[in-house]
Structure formats: C-alpha cells, structure tokens
C-alpha cells in the first residue's frame, strides 16, 4: 500500500496536473504517446500511401531527432510575428505526427540551434501560401496539410530560410556570386537586382536572394535533377557547401 502511494506521489511530482503524462511516462524511452485520432489519407515522405482511418491510442516510436524537434512545435504565436491578421490554432495529433515524421527526414545541417519554434496558424495573409518564416520562427498554415502538399518539401524550404538568416558573410557572398545576383540598389523598400539571365527553379526566386536560396535548397533535397538542369552553378555551390551527407533521411544528431 505504502509502495503504491509512493509510485502515485512520484508520478504526480513528475507530471504535475498533466493527466496525459502518466500514459506518456509508460511509453518508455524512445517512444511517445499518440492519442486516438482520425487520420486523413496521405502519402508519407517515403512514398508509402496510408488510407484514411481512426488511429487508436498507442505508443509510437520516436522519429529521428524527436527530442530536438518535438519541443519546437508550439501552440501559440511567435513573439513579434509581423502578420497581425493571421490567427493561431492548436496542433492536432494528426498534424503533429505528420510534421515530426517529415522533420525526421531533414539533414542535420538544417537543425538550427537558433530556430525557436514552429507554430500552427489558420490562414496565410497570402493564401494559399502553406508556410512562412521569420527570424527564428516558422509557421505552418492549414494549406500545408492539404492532400497534394508535401510537408517535407515545405519544411525543407522554411528551414532553408532559417539557414540563410544565419549564413556567414563569406558564405552569403559566395552564394550571391554563384547564383549570379548583381546588386543595384538597397535604398528602397525592395532591393533592386539583376540576375544575369539565369533560370529559376521556382518563379518567386526572382524576388530576393533569400527566397531564391530557400527554393534552391528545397529543390536540391526534393527534386535535385530539376535544380541541376536549371541552375548547375547553384547545384554545385550547395553540394560543395554542405557536402555528401546533405540529403533527406540522412539523420544523425547535429545542431548548428
């Protein structure tokens, strides 16, 4: 009797008032609790298709780098988020599981220590944009979870924005040269450039070096042949900069 009381007391001390914690605790090391939820049909990042079903509560194996990514998924609004009209919402279990699965595929180089949080919001000011980045924060909107969207592709793009914001001066300069960006003016609200007639894998790349960089990293990881064909100099820059292990599913724990 005394023993049982001690166990309950220790669970209460460890978990506070969080009732779910007791079950989470029982999942053991390397696993996490997934509560019962309805999961829509989807295709996982490795191409495996899953039918729509009700998933019963269970303990799931932690995806790669779960301990790094899981605390980043927050319910709330990033501090100082500039887009005032965008409303936040809570992560559903289904979205959380899918996002953690996609994040587990990211190469370690994109695990930035300066990334504070990944939040959920309903609708982008630029609907149907699926995601946005600020300095240290990422937001995923409802459209990121639509059937035809690849979370892996969306997240590699947003994590590339975070990587860009922390490039060293030398790396920024060498990328600018490799990608043929010729500055003209930074004096207005929008920088003026010329890009020496080069091609872009995604048309909004022409808007800024940063958007171009994020698109190129996204394509390098998800559709490398297209990037190599359209902008071989940029493909080579990414290969040289990140090395052989820069690919999806490369795993490993490394935080920049």
């Amino acid at each position: 009797m005394q023993k049982t009381l001690l166990v309950f007391a220790s669970i209460f001390l460890l978990c506070g008032s969080n009732a779910k914690c007791e079950i989470t605790h029982q999942c053991g090391v390397g696993k996490h609790y997934v509560k019962s939820h309805f999961r829509k049909a989807y295709t996982r990042s490795d191409g495996v298709h899953f039918k729509a079903t009700t998933v019963k509560e269970h303990c799931a194996d932690n995806p790669k780098n779960y301990d790094f990514w899981n605390p980043k998924l927050k319910n709330g609004r990033p501090d100082g988020w500039a887009r005032k009209t965008e409303k936040s919402k809570h992560w559903s279990t289904e979205e959380r599981e899918k996002t953690l699965e996609a994040l587990s595929k990211m190469p370690p180089a994109l695990m930035s220590a300066k990334l504070r949080e990944i939040d959920r919001m309903i609708r982008s000011q630029d609907f149907p944009n699926p995601a946005s980045s600020d300095n240290g924060d990422i937001v995923l909107y409802d459209t990121a979870f639509e059937k035809d969207k690849s979370l892996t592709q969306i997240l590699s793009h947003e994590l590339a924005h975070q990587y860009y914001k922390n490039l060293s001066g030398k790396d920024f300069e060498s990328y600018r040269k490799a990608a043929d960006w010729f500055n003209i003016s930074n004096l207005g609200t929008k920088p003026v450039y010329r890009t020496a007639g080069r091609m872009f894998v995604a048309k909004d790349g022409v808007n800024s070096i940063e958007e171009d960089f994020a698109n190129n990293i996204e394509y390098f990881l998800n559709q490398p042949k297209e990037l190599k064909k359209s902008t071989p100099k940029v493909y080579d820059w990414i290969s040289n900069h990140f090395g052989d292990k820069f690919k999806l599913g490369a795993g490993g724990a490394h935080v920049r």
Partner: protein, 172 residues
C-alpha cells in the same frame, strides 16, 4: 642560352607561389568605399563619375517600380566580374540620384561596427525591411541617417554589411 637560364627560371617558379599569395593578401579591391563616397547624389554628373571611376562595366536601364531610384544604373563590378562593387544611379537629368557600395568579406567596412565607427559620431536609426515576399520576412537590418543620406543594410545574425547606400540628404 636557355640551359643557362634554367636555374633562374626554377628559382622564379619556386618563389612564385609565395609572390602570388603575398599579392593576394595585399590586394586592394577596385573601387574602395573612400573613392566611391566622393560621388555626391544631387550634384555629381555622368562626366564627373567617369572622371572618378572610369566607364562602367554595365549600363542598366531601370523600369517600372525601379524608376523611384532613377532612370539608369551604372554598375562597376569586382575584379573577378562576378559581383557588383558599386552602382551609380542617375536621374533623367543625368545627375547622380543614388550611390550604392557593396563590400566584400575582405573589406573592413563589411563589419557593421567598424563601418558605424567610420561615420562616428553620426547616429543611425535601426529598423527592419518590411515583409514584402510571401514566405519570409526579410532578414536584414537597416541603419539610417537621413541627415547624411546614408543607409546601411546588414545581415541580422552576424553584422555582415550587405550594402551602403547614399542618397541626397534630407533637409530639415
């Protein structure tokens, strides 16, 4: 004759790598800031720009929304011709409207703190560039002094200076 010169040529080749690295170390890029900032928006003419910087590598006509900057941009490229070193923008009367200078990492002005101390005791107001693209807020920080007509754009997390721009100072 040729055989006689072989030891000399060998010595020259042996010394050459150190010569080239020495010259690279002491290399001063074309169009330093001290030269470019002698061009004054609102007064300097095309002829005076040519007298100071010589002819540009590229002449770019500005169009659409770019016309707020001026009508024509003259680009001066770095030695490798793979990056803009300076751009001089002219208004329709062929008077300079803007001067932009883009440091490279070996320039000491690429460090924000050094650059700000270069203009000391002038005070700069810090701001960020408004969010203009769909996916991401611009990373850069902006340091402006309207009295001097100077705007410095730097990266947020390492103080690397992307550009220094000069326009006609605003009269108060």
């Amino acid at each position: 004759m040729f055989a006689k010169n072989i030891p000399f040529l060998t010595l020259l080749i042996m010394l050459c790598p150190s010569c080239s690295s020495l010259s690279a170390k002491n290399h001063v890029s074309s169009y330093p800031l001290s030269l470019v900032e002698t061009i004054k928006p609102g007064t300097t003419t095309k002829e005076e720009v040519i007298a100071t910087l010589k002819k540009p590598d590229q002449i770019i006509p500005l169009t659409g929304k770019e016309l707020v900057h001026g009508n024509e941009a003259w680009l001066y490229l770095n030695d490798e011709k793979d990056s803009t070193r300076a751009s001089i923008i002219f208004d329709k009367k062929s008077i300079v409207s803007e001067v932009n200078w883009f440091p490279e990492s070996q320039d000491e002005e690429s460090d924000l703190q050094r650059l700000l101390s270069h203009y000391s005791p002038a005070k700069f107001v810090k701001s960020t560039i408004p969010w203009t693209t769909q996916h991401s807020s611009p990373s850069e920080h902006v340091y402006s002094n309207e009295t001097l007509g100077i705007k410095i754009v730097s990266m947020p997390n390492n103080d690397f200076v992307e550009s220094i721009g000069f326009e006609k100072p605003k009269s108060h």
